[in-house]
């Protein structure tokens, strides 16, 4: 019952905010926040039961035989549910301040609550269809929130792109469901996993590939990642909640949930690991070329999820899931803190127009500093533990090249995150410098100014400051400390491993790795420090600070086209699929339909008319001709009677 409560209260909140929005006004924010809070508490109360073997299970209803629906709460879904509701609660709270004064304040919270509901449905379902429903609804919530400011063309386009790419993911999962139901005749996870040993390798691979298409679309893996940077068109709390902390990690959840399938299919593991590694490094490289603060964070999110996917893909489930755990805190914090900046600078998002913000937004300064340290994996901060565990896990599962990619990515991450930090907080404030001086393209300037119009100039005047500051401050704590859950002297007995002992029993098979764990940590630290060093040299030295304007302009203008255009993936997709589909549609709709098909129909009609014209000649209007024809007919008639018909 508690489980149902945790699931449905956010839905009720969403409906209330949507239906009663005009009457609730600012109360809607508090209502929605309370709903998420209740959901969090309910989930927390189930902790004890969920960590028992078997977890909590609640059967709901059945469509027909084989299609039984229910909810389940085991350590994996418990972790996700807690993060979703916990971090979600803080972000809801923050949004009350951030969205204050927006015309569609209540609608925003309706969408946010709906998102929490959908996400809970996704992680609590005990069957594929329930998961898929959650999966689709999460995509829908994301669509609504990205396109929240729907009067803006770019937001509308970004929302549509996100939705369609997510549907591609849904479709992949649907395909996997066909395979599963055709072979298992049940949609429940438990039945599927129990039967998975009987699947042949090709079938297993096909199922895993289908599921992974879903995971890749939702978790922004190459090449289905292009929606994530565009998704930053949504309000900043949305970016924090959906596109950093929760929704995008659904892919990680899916792969971890299907650990029994993946464990039996090395080919699928290879596929997922490869895509994850590729995403990690591509995201990191693209992160170095961005100027929009939210886009930098978006690419870093993509890169970090690449890590997680790589981890869970190759079998390092605990590490991948742990990275989700820590990442949820520090990435949410980074986004919320950047939201503070954006808010304070009246919706300025371009880091080139920031600078010297340490004094103006001290809380953001500290929060981003902690976040950056955490994401770079500085020892002591949470990211250090989880990231190390993934990198080490990859090696233990026998993929040395992924190990290398992981280390390299860590270095690049350190570089671009510190680049963000230095440009934003050090030096002089550049907000009043002519944009052209900073190398910003004029049309881009126009676009930036138009950002986040609805909350312009309304936020700081009315909203109580603490609703925005408190969540940021609170998130600092887990950002630093969460990683310590993974710490133990012998690796096996950390609280984390004990928590997941039942979920991922195969973790114990860790073969003797070529590199011991402490060495990995040292190497990673070295690479990270090197990355930081480059960032310091380019942005933090005294000389760099002195002519920051000129340097930024230089960098903007010299940025490789390949990076600015994100490896042309978008262009390629647009050119091949979008234009291709439109071309075919025009061809069919403008040529085939009216000319060929209707032409054939008209041909039939024309032949009837032609026959009529032919016969018309007989209709001479001459009485005598008619008489002749009648005689002819009489003659035939007579001939019939005289000679009979030939038999």
């Amino acid at each position: 019952m508690m489980l149902l409560l945790a699931l449905l209260v956010p839905l009720a909140g969403a409906i209330a905010c949507w239906a009663l929005g005009p009457w609730l006004r600012n109360l809607a924010g508090w209502l929605a926040t309370a709903a998420v809070g209740i959901s969090f508490v309910a989930t927390l109360l189930l902790w004890g039961a969920a960590t028992q073997p078997g977890g909590v299970h609640l059967a709901l209803f059945s469509w027909m035989s084989g299609f039984d629906f229910g909810l389940t709460l085991d350590p994996l879904s418990l972790l996700w549910a807690l993060i979703i509701t916990g971090v979600g609660f803080l972000i809801h709270l923050y949004s009350i301040g951030y969205m204050h004064g927006d015309r569609a304040f209540a609608r925003f919270f309706a969408y946010m609550n709906f998102f929490i509901f959908a996400m809970m449905l996704l992680v609590l379902s005990d069957n594929w269809v329930g998961l898929l429903v959650g999966w689709g609804l999460v995509g829908l919530a994301s669509y609504f929130l990205i396109g929240f400011w729907f009067e803006r063309r770019s937001a509308v386009a970004a929302a549509r792109k996100a939705f369609i790419l997510n549907v591609i993911g849904d479709v992949g999962i649907m395909f996997a469901i066909f395979l599963i139901v055709a072979n298992v005749h049940s949609i429940r996870f438990a039945d599927t996993f129990a039967a998975s040993a009987t699947f042949g390798a090709p079938l297993l691979y096909a199922i895993c590939a289908g599921l992974f298409i879903g995971a890749a679309a939702k978790s922004a893996q190459v090449p289905l990642h292009t929606w994530l940077p565009d998704a930053m068109e949504g309000p900043t709390p949305v970016s924090a909640l959906i596109h950093a902390a929760t929704m995008v990690t659904a892919g990680v959840y899916l792969v971890a949930r299907c650990a029994p399938l993946w464990s039996h299919s090395p080919r699928a593991q290879m596929l997922v690991g490869t895509i994850g590694a590729l995403t990690a490094i591509v995201g990191a490289i693209l992160g170095t070329a961005q100027w929009d603060i939210k886009r930098i964070l978006a690419y870093s999110t993509m890169s970090q999820i690449g890590y997680m996917i790589m981890g869970v893909g190759v079998g390092a489930y605990a590490g991948g899931v742990a990275h989700f755990f820590t990442h949820a805190f520090f990435k949410a914090q980074l986004f919320l803190a950047s939201g503070l900046i954006i808010h304070a600078l009246h919706n300025e998002q371009d880091v080139r127009k920031m600078g010297g913000l340490r004094a103006r937004t001290p809380l953001a300064f500290w929060a981003i500093l902690v976040g950056v340290l955490a994401i770079c994996g500085i020892p002591g901060f949470s990211g250090f533990f989880s990231k190390d565990q993934i990198i080490q896990g990859v090696l233990e599962n026998g993929h040395p090249w992924m190990y290398g990619v992981g280390l390299l990515t860590a270095g690049i991450t350190a570089y671009y995150m510190f680049r963000l930090f230095f440009i934003t907080f050090l030096g002089e404030y550049r907000g009043n410098v002519d944009p052209a001086q900073l190398g910003m393209a004029p049309e881009a300037v126009g676009a930036e100014v138009a950002h986040e119009p609805a909350s312009t100039g309304s936020g700081e005047a009315h909203a109580p400051a603490w609703v925005m500051n408190l969540p940021v401050a609170l998130l600092i704590v887990p950002s630093v400390l969460a990683g310590w859950l993974l710490f133990s002297t012998d690796g096996a007995s950390s609280p984390w491993s004990r928590f997941f002992a039942a979920q991922f029993p195969t973790a114990a098979q860790a073969s003797a790795a070529a590199v011991p764990e402490w060495a990995t940590a040292l190497i990673a630290l070295g690479v990270v420090l090197a990355g930081i060093g480059v960032a310091v040299a380019r942005y933090a030295t005294r000389s760099a600070q002195a002519n920051a304007v000129a340097r930024l302009r230089d960098e903007s203008l010299r940025m490789p086209k390949l990076l600015v255009n994100a490896f042309y993936v978008d262009t390629l997709i647009d050119g091949v699929f979008v234009r291709g589909a439109r071309l075919l549609g025009s061809l069919f709709g403008r040529i085939l339909d009216p000319h060929v098909i209707d032409g054939a129909v008209r041909g039939v009609a024309a032949s009837a008319v032609g026959f009529g014209v032919l016969v018309r000649a007989l209709q001479s209007g001459l009485v005598r001709a008619y008489a002749l024809v009648i005689v002819l007919g009489v003659g035939c008639f007579l001939a019939y009677y005289v000679f009979g018909i030939p038999r």
């Binding site: 001459l622 002749l628 005689v631």
Partner: protein, 106 residues
């Protein structure tokens, strides 16, 4: 004469009627004067009547007479109407030729 017996074999009447009928047909087809065409039609009617009467006599059945009577009535009606049409159709025309009246041409 013997009741129920024809003065001549039935086939003779048939042949005579057929010849008359086809003379009428030829008239309708070949002539272009509407009046002559109408008269040819009367010929055809009469050929048919001849058969009715002959068969009535052969079978001693009144129905043939009655039908011949009806045919004469219809012929009268037909002649009246057809002549009216001829009159109005050619009242304003300089030439009397049914081939000129071909408004029904398709």
């Amino acid at each position: 004469m013997t009741p129920g017996l024809l003065p001549m074999p039935l086939v003779d009447y048939l042949a005579l009627s057929a010849v008359m009928f086809f003379i009428g047909v030829t008239g309708v087809i070949v002539r272009r004067n509407p009046l002559v065409m109408l008269m040819s039609i009367e010929l055809m009617f009469n050929a048919a009547n001849l058969l009715f009467v002959a068969y009535a006599r052969a079978w001693l059945n009144d129905a043939g007479h009655i039908f011949a009577f009806l045919v004469i009535t219809v012929a009268a009606a037909e002649a009246a109407i057809a002549l009216a049409i001829v009159v109005i159709a050619f009242r304003a025309s300089k030439n009397v030729d049914v081939d000129e009246a071909s408004a029904l041409r398709g």
